[in-house]
């Protein structure tokens, strides 16, 4: 208990300071109670309630840039954590069949509520070593080609697809460009738009730019409460438009990147609530919520024929965008 508390203490956000102050007080009371053999249970209970209340207040009013911080929390559950908790019998499938297995994208077969599905996800590392292997969730073209190979597998065998989005972006590197990063992403958009099986995407953390879109063309887009989905990271937007990356806070607000924003814009279909304080506070509860939200969407889409699915998906993307037409 003590060590996990210490671990979590390292990851406290500035905006969580009021919570930590009360938690420190609780620790102090516990120490005093033990030292002096007095009963401070009432005081401790009262403070514990205050912690919950403070957390509720803070998390109800999170600013977009704070949401981004939560979405990037190093202890936030990763795609594999969700897959292991919402599916049974996950069989990971590896490789793009063209020379590489990109570990920044994971995929495979799994059983969801008794039905076989294909899962494809951006995978961030769960510790430093893992993060190096996963390239911090930033895929090379081979990752998108592995994803495409799995989408085609799903299409061939009539299996619904679940994609979990969690990436700071596709990897910017010389080899990534040399091997066709743009074309790999573009081809996924092209093929996903016509895949004759249901596709549901869930943004579980960071949904940043083309790197997220490359596995994100789908019939339904669900977003975890503190995830974000943006055309560019707030830092990148601030650097380009404000010429000052420290204006990320303003960029995050201006771009409309939170789950509520995307629901309002008609891009997201549903917001999945997270446990108080973010998914990392209770990964099992977060997985439970994801599973509960996902079930009805997959069931509903599975009742549609291939033709109708593809036509509806085409119509959905056809209608995306806001412009004016003057006659």
């Amino acid at each position: 208990m003590e060590s996990s508390r210490l671990t979590s203490r390292k990851l406290v956000f500035d905006f969580e300071r009021p919570i930590v102050e009360i938690e420190d007080e609780i620790e102090e009371f516990k120490r005093l109670a033990a030292q002096n053999e007095v009963n401070l249970d009432d005081e401790i209970a009262r403070l514990t309630e205050r912690v919950t209340a403070a957390r509720q207040t803070i998390y109800r009013q999170l600013k977009p840039v704070q949401r981004v911080q939560v979405a990037r929390h190093p202890s936030r559950p990763s795609a594999l954590d969700y897959i292991q908790n919402i599916c049974e019998g996950f069989v990971e499938l590896h490789g793009d069949r063209q020379g590489y297995d990109d570990r920044a994208i994971v995929g495979g077969l799994a059983s969801f509520e008794g039905r076989t599905i294909v899962v494809v996800a951006n995978q961030k590392g769960r510790d430093t070593k893992d993060n190096i292997m996963r390239n911090f969730g930033m895929a090379h073209p081979e990752g998108y080609r592995k994803a495409l190979r799995l989408f085609r597998h799903a299409g061939k065998f009539g299996l619904p697809v679940l994609t979990l989005i969690d990436t700071p972006g596709a990897y910017p590197g010389i080899e990534a460009e040399q091997r066709g990063q743009s074309a790999a992403i573009a081809l996924n958009l092209f093929e996903m738009s016509r895949l004759p099986v249901p596709i549901v995407s869930v943004v579980i953390g960071e949904g940043s730019s083309g790197g997220a879109m490359g596995i994100g063309v789908s019939d339904r887009i669900l977003m975890l409460e503190h995830s974000y989905y943006a055309v560019i990271s707030p830092e990148g937007c601030a650097a380009i438009l404000w010429k000052d990356p420290s204006k990320a806070k303003m960029a995050a607000e201006a771009m409309g990147i939170t789950a509520e924003d995307l629901l309002r814009l008609g891009i997201a279909d549903e917001i999945i609530p997270e446990p108080l304080g973010g998914a990392h506070q209770d990964p099992l509860a977060a997985a439970h919520n994801l599973k509960a939200a996902l079930g009805p969407h997959l069931a509903e889409l599975s009742r549609l024929g291939a033709y109708e699915l593809v036509e509806r998906r085409a119509a959905k993307y056809r209608a995306m965008g806001r412009f004016i037409e003057e006659f």
């Binding site: 460009e177 380009i240 409309g256």
Partner: protein, 292 residues
């Protein structure tokens, strides 16, 4: 190196690239200095040479209208969807409101909004055409650009005509947030339907074609053509150099470099572009090809 630093650098590099490519007219307005070889070029000669330096072959960027004039049979272009304009879905304000940026761009560059679309003939073959304009907010793809590209794809589909798109874009239009990202899926979805119908799509990736445009409709053509030294890529050079902590080779992300690695079908100098398109169109129309 933090993510912030990468992006700061990326912004700086974009500014550099853009100012490098701008045509620097000399004070009397009759002469332009070549960006590559610094030769003073008489504007009339430059225009006659399709905005290519006669001394060194440097290809200047051209506006959408200039490009259309260079590519299509004279008097055959009829514009479509000209009444589509950007709106401001997010009420976006950075150092300037997006609305003001749009008004300024419309005043300066007309009603294209980053892309001019229409029907035209190229060496006698009628096609649907979309030509992006880098001068209009960096050719960035917002909802209006995405809609005009999509409609042009649909027009080609319905009329059973080949589709030609000339791209020139820094990527998605950030001022429209995630809606601009969705234009990647929208245009790609329309192209997938066009491809199912057997439609021919030729793309000319002009300088520069990067980001969300390069990672969507630009690279989905049946045949990918570029011009000498055009910059094409997903991420910007500086972002990449900062990420990998080493310099990229000078030829990195040029059309020549992409051709070497199999990303393009050919590099065609501007003077040969129209005959090459004409030949490719004829070759797909079941007509005998003639060497241009």
């Amino acid at each position: 190196m933090t993510l912030r630093d990468w992006f700061a650098d990326r912004a700086r590099s974009r500014q550099l690239v853009d100012s490098d490519r701008i045509r620097r007219e000399m004070p009397d307005g009759l002469w332009t200095k070549c960006n590559h070889c610094s030769a003073p070029l008489y504007n009339k000669d430059l225009e006659a040479n399709l905005q290519v330096c006669p001394k060194c072959g440097y290809h200047f960027r051209v506006s959408a209208w200039t490009r259309i004039g260079q590519l299509v049979d004279e008097g055959t272009f009829s514009q479509t969807h000209a009444s589509i304009r950007s709106t401001d879905p997010l009420g976006f304000v950075d150092t300037k409101p997006y609305k003001v940026r749009l008004e300024e761009s419309y005043d300066r560059l007309g009603d294209g909004d980053g892309v001019i679309t229409g029907a035209a003939d190229i060496e006698g073959t009628t096609i649907q055409l979309a030509v992006m304009d880098f001068a209009f907010m960096g050719g960035s793809m917002g909802s209006a650009v995405g809609e005009k590209i999509t409609r042009t794809i649909e027009d080609a589909h319905e009329a059973h005509r080949p589709l030609i798109i000339v791209t020139a874009s820094g990527g998605a239009r950030m001022q429209e947030g995630t809606l601009s990202l969705m234009q990647m899926a929208k245009t790609s979805s329309a192209l997938a339907q066009f491809a199912e119908g057997g439609g021919l799509y030729l793309a000319i990736l002009a300088d520069p074609t990067t980001g969300g445009v390069s990672a969507s409709f630009a690279t989905l053509a049946d045949i990918l053509i570029s011009e000498p030294a055009a910059v094409i890529g997903f991420a910007g050079r500086r972002v990449i150099e900062q990420t990998i902590r080493q310099k990229a080779p000078p030829e990195f992300q040029t059309a020549e470099w992409l051709l070497k690695y199999g990303a393009l079908d050919m590099i065609v100098p501007r003077s040969s572009l129209r005959p090459m398109l004409g030949q490719l169109l004829r070759m797909h129309a079941g007509q005998p090809a003639t060497v241009a």
